[in-house]
Amino acid sequence: MSLIKLVIASIRYYFKSNMLIALGMAVSTAIITGAFIVGDSVSYSLDRTVYYRLGNITHSITAGDRYFSSVFARRMEQGMEYMTSAGLIAEGMGLADGGQLRLENLQILGVDEKFQEMSIAQREIFQLQPGEVVISENVAARLNLDEGDMLLLRIKKASLIPLNTPLVSDADQTVARQVTIKAIVGREDFGRFNLQATQTAPFNVFIGFDWLNDIMDLEQKSNIIFISTANNDAKNEIAEKLRRELQIEDANLQLQYLPEKAVWELISERVFINSSLSEKLLDTLPSAVPFLTYFVNSMRHGDGDTPYSFVSSMPDSLLSGSEIIVNQWLADDIQARPGDTLSMEYFEIGPLRELEVCQTEFIVKEIIPVLGSYGDESLVPDLPGLSDAGSCREWEAGIPIELERIRDKDEEYWNRYRGTPKAFISISRARELWSNRFGDYTAIRVSSGAADEQEIMNLIKNSTDPFSLGFRVNELKKGGIQAAQNGYNFTQLFLGLSFFILVSGVILAALLVIFNLEHRIEQIGSMAAVGFSGKMIRKIYLTEGMLVALLGSLVGILLAVLYGKLVFIGLNRVWQDIVRTDLLEMVIRPLSLAEGFIISMVVSWLVIMLLLRRQLKFSITQLQKKTIVGHRDWVVRLKQGMMVALVLVAAGLLLWQFFSGKELNSTVFLGSGAMLLIGFLLMADLRMLQTEEKPIDRMNMRSLSYKNLVRNRTRSLTVIILLSLGTFTVISTGSNRANLAADAQVKSSGTGGFLFLAESTVPILKNLNDPDIKNEFGIPDSLEFIQFRTYDGDDASCLNLNRVTNPRVLGVDPDALKDRFSFVTVTEFLDESDPWASLEKDLDDVIPVVADQTIIQWGLGMKMGDTLHYVSERGDSVRLKLIGGLANSIFQGNVIISADNFLQLFPSSVGTSFLLMDGAYENRDQLAEELNFAFRDFGWDMVPAVERLAEYASVQNTYLQIFLVMGAFGLLLGTVGLAIVLARSIYERRNELAVMLSAGYRFKQLFGIILREYNALLLAGIASGLLASVIATLPAFLSGYQNVSFSLLTFLTGIIILNGFFWIMLVSAIQLRNLNLLDALRND
């Protein structure tokens, strides 16, 4: 007889109980390995998403809102080992079915034939003729389109001039075309092309590059260059090439020779010359003369009033800041002479086209001829709708023109001299009055004698740092892979979510091991009695246990695959809210299976070792007599001490939370709940010990039941633990489910009390709170708007599984958000009395920023006080310091800075495209209708704020749903534990029960005794779990943001209790029915 034979014989003899142990271990293995499989698969799927959304494109070159020549793309690939393709990306909206079906947020992609080569498309589909488009499957599905169908596209028109540039008209922001669907493409045909690191599919419309240029009245302009290279780390190489190849036209500059003035003139297609460029140029070429020409409303002297004129600048050397030189025509018109005071009125244009009438005065220094050394039309920048108008009455400026003020003589002047400036002020004064975030000058002139064209070109090129103009080389592939790999760790998530099942599985397995050992306690005693050493006995039982664990773990691996499949079915169907993609594919990596297997075996080894040590510490006599009773006094005292300490600490923490006046901290409550739970379990243990020890003077059925209950304290306590863990999980999960509708109108809630949230494809350039603008759009006066500027970044909300580093930045006037939303975490930089105002604090070299706390923690993986790194429009590296964390809000996925800071970072930012609206809740339906109509051409995507919040909450709720399912499964294990303990207990007590029957007890009475015993265990487990979970989730109960459903709570508790009752009754009935009285009496 060898050891292994003995072990195998034991396994065979105790086959049923060993199989139960193996099953418990299989559950634990399945949970651990299943979590690995889910994590691997999500990670793999995100990696695959990078492939589907980028194909072979590895990098891109963008330039903010600039448009550059498509030839630049060709120059960029010359002599390099990569391929480029010029692209033109715009936003748009689609209408189908006669306008019945509408889809905002279309990504309009103007692509050329080289894009085909970079794509992963299986078909030749990207060579598109005018009028043809290729759309992604989701667009086809939303607009109910088939190949060959027609679609009306409304595209946000590209503008070489930033739309909020002073004096530029904001008319015609969109252009519409009827197009034919050439093809509908899925992921295999590059239908999921997306530059953003997210797993969700964008709404793509591919369109011919040349035709899109035609539609937008552009000439071979692009705003992106796609690059495909074998080297994902080619960023520096590309950046270097970008520096070398950038020509002045790519920077939207033009150098022209003005023969009559004998000067070279540098102007910008964007009207104002970028200030960093102009500063460098003027530094390196001192002879260059800058000009700033502006359109003024009126120039007056005495009764004379000349409307709408261009005024330009002269070098400071020619006149002082208070002086003005006027041309003869103006002097005659307003009867001004040198020394007279001239009053000038002009519009100062605010960030949202707010017009402020400004007035200033000058002393006329000199009167000059209309045409002369400075007086020339070419000083007027190219302002579409103004400088190119046929007559004054045709002006379409970005400011209101009172046509009745225009006189015939003004028309005559226009006909004869066009926009030739009528007056000149010093350049310093001109800058003081009219320089803006788009630039300081409208032209820079260099005398042809000072430098030739090539010299000037070289100087300009040397002064032009593409990165300070907003050019960027984006590492799409590398960034995408990093974002995917650092994304949500689903292994950790599912281990966390299924933690209680894991614990329950281990406890259950341990319980079964204990049963097995208890059952064989005499055997162990006999072995010891015949001379087996403790080590030898341990070895025998450990070998047996590990062989069973091996079997359990192997079965567990198979169960893990099944579990993984079930989770994926859940994620792709029921729980799609948290993944927002149908791209999830399951992969099984042998290494993960091995990891799960090893962890499971180690856990099994630990459990068996611990239990063996515990069991074998008793004496041989005790083992043989099965009289293992008692406990050590110091253990009891320790338990008492721990129980009192835990309850006191938990109570202290709770009181501190309530009376400190601080925000309720959910971690403190969770910790208190957990401490109370352990305290309750210790209390139950001690109570059972007391019942066990205290003799009963007055016997009755109840006291008999309680005595029976403590017959085996470990078992009873195990049942209580299993049930309390399951209850704790289910109830705390149920309590945390967010129900947001009830508090939607509260200003401190996650909606900020706002009625609607809208995002517009075409930015809103004007201040919508201005009554005139409201009137213009036909929207009610009662509506209040909060407009946000946006700087695009990746979505950092919980809807994105990727780990993003640069979320979208929103810029807002902090005053507008006063008393709105709630901050849950603060830093010393946040003024708690008016937190939003802190966004305007001067923190030296960092910019204050706030975001949702959940996003800071989970989306960005950061903590309060950390800094986010961005590159400003001028190419400077800027740091945004997190100074406050918001409670879950509609801002999820964004970070918020003040509008002033925003415009400093991104001066060319055009208008606002993220808006919050507040109005009368009662009229919300009508208001929604009016707003949707008013902004129908802006790609207006509006939702009730509470709906957006609910969308984010749905992610949380879905996680909770999974948690709930896991908790229910854990509870099921608890119930299984209860049933096993019950069945085992009745089996072991069959002689006692038979004696009681022989003593005249009825079956019904025995049934009642058993029910009372186990119902007490059930209720103790559920009550401790319930109480602890309620404490743990008190913030959810007490907060105004989450409306805990008491009916759900009652329902869940009821279900848990009924489920327990049911199994207790069923198992008791079956076991008692199977109890053979005579056999039981005969058999000892």
């Binding site: 066990e692 009963i696 008999l704 017959r711 029957l997 005249g1000």
Partner: protein, 235 residues
């Protein structure tokens, strides 16, 4: 007449209902109040089966069991349970005391279904525990006591409801000689003092000889043994 068994037949059947062993066959027995008898016989002869039938733990295939004037073999389970509780006291080879309870608690178990005055039960328990000499041990648990003490406690448990009939199945089978002798004396004393009818199933002739009559169970029927060997003799 306290107990009458008429034409009792009992067979053991397979799962499919086939008779595979006939244990009792047309067995008759009559027992007066206060009488004490021993039933002896070889292992497997049906002694315990007979005791279980008398104690209403089992029902006969044929025949009638009449207790006093009532035919108990026709009663339902609830009535039988009440009957066992009030009229019968059982003592088994193994004491089957509940290990989680003290002796005091154990002996009171049969009083619980009665719903009678607990004080009277406590008095009886005290008296019986004193009589059996284990009063001082009443707050100890079975694991802390000797086999003899436990068996005496089992006797007290059997007597606590003042039964008319005491059934003892190999009561001394698990005891040493000294304890066995003590228990034998206890049983006969109880019979004499309390006039409780006693039926003992035993292999011990020493115990059997203390009874008024000895019946030999053989071939499914009882036969009165006509001689009583003085020596300890296993049947």
């Amino acid at each position: 007449m306290l107990l009458t068994l008429k034409n009792i037949g009992k067979s053991y059947r397979s799962r499919y209902g086939q008779v595979f062993r006939k244990v009792l066959d047309a067995l008759d027995l009559q027992l007066d109040e206060g009488e004490k008898i021993a039933i002896v016989g070889p292992s497997g002869s049906g002694k315990t089966t007979l005791l279980n039938l008398i104690g209403a733990l089992d029902t006969p295939d044929t025949g009638e069991i009449i207790f006093g004037s009532e035919v108990i073999s026709e009663w339902n389970q609830n009535k039988l349970a009440d009957f066992r509780n009030r009229k019968i006291g059982f003592i088994f080879q193994f004491h089957h005391l509940l290990p989680q309870l003290t002796l005091w608690e154990n002996v009171l178990i049969p009083t619980l279904p009665l719903k009678s005055d607990p004080e009277a039960a406590y008095q009886r328990a005290e008296e019986l525990l004193r009589t059996t000499g284990i009063w001082e041990r009443r707050f100890q648990k079975p694991g802390e006591l000797s086999g003899g003490e436990c068996q005496r406690a089992a006797v007290v448990r059997a007597l606590i409801n003042e039964p008319d009939l005491l059934l003892a199945d190999e009561p001394t089978g698990a005891l040493d000689e000294e304890n066995a002798a003590g228990l034998s004396k206890l049983l006969t004393d109880i019979n004499e003092q309390k006039k409780i009818t006693l039926i003992v199933v035993t292999h011990s002739m020493e115990l059997a000889e203390k009874m008024d009559k000895i019946y030999l169970l053989k071939n499914g029927a009882l036969a009165l043994a006509d001689h009583r060997p003085a020596s300890k003799k296993r049947v």
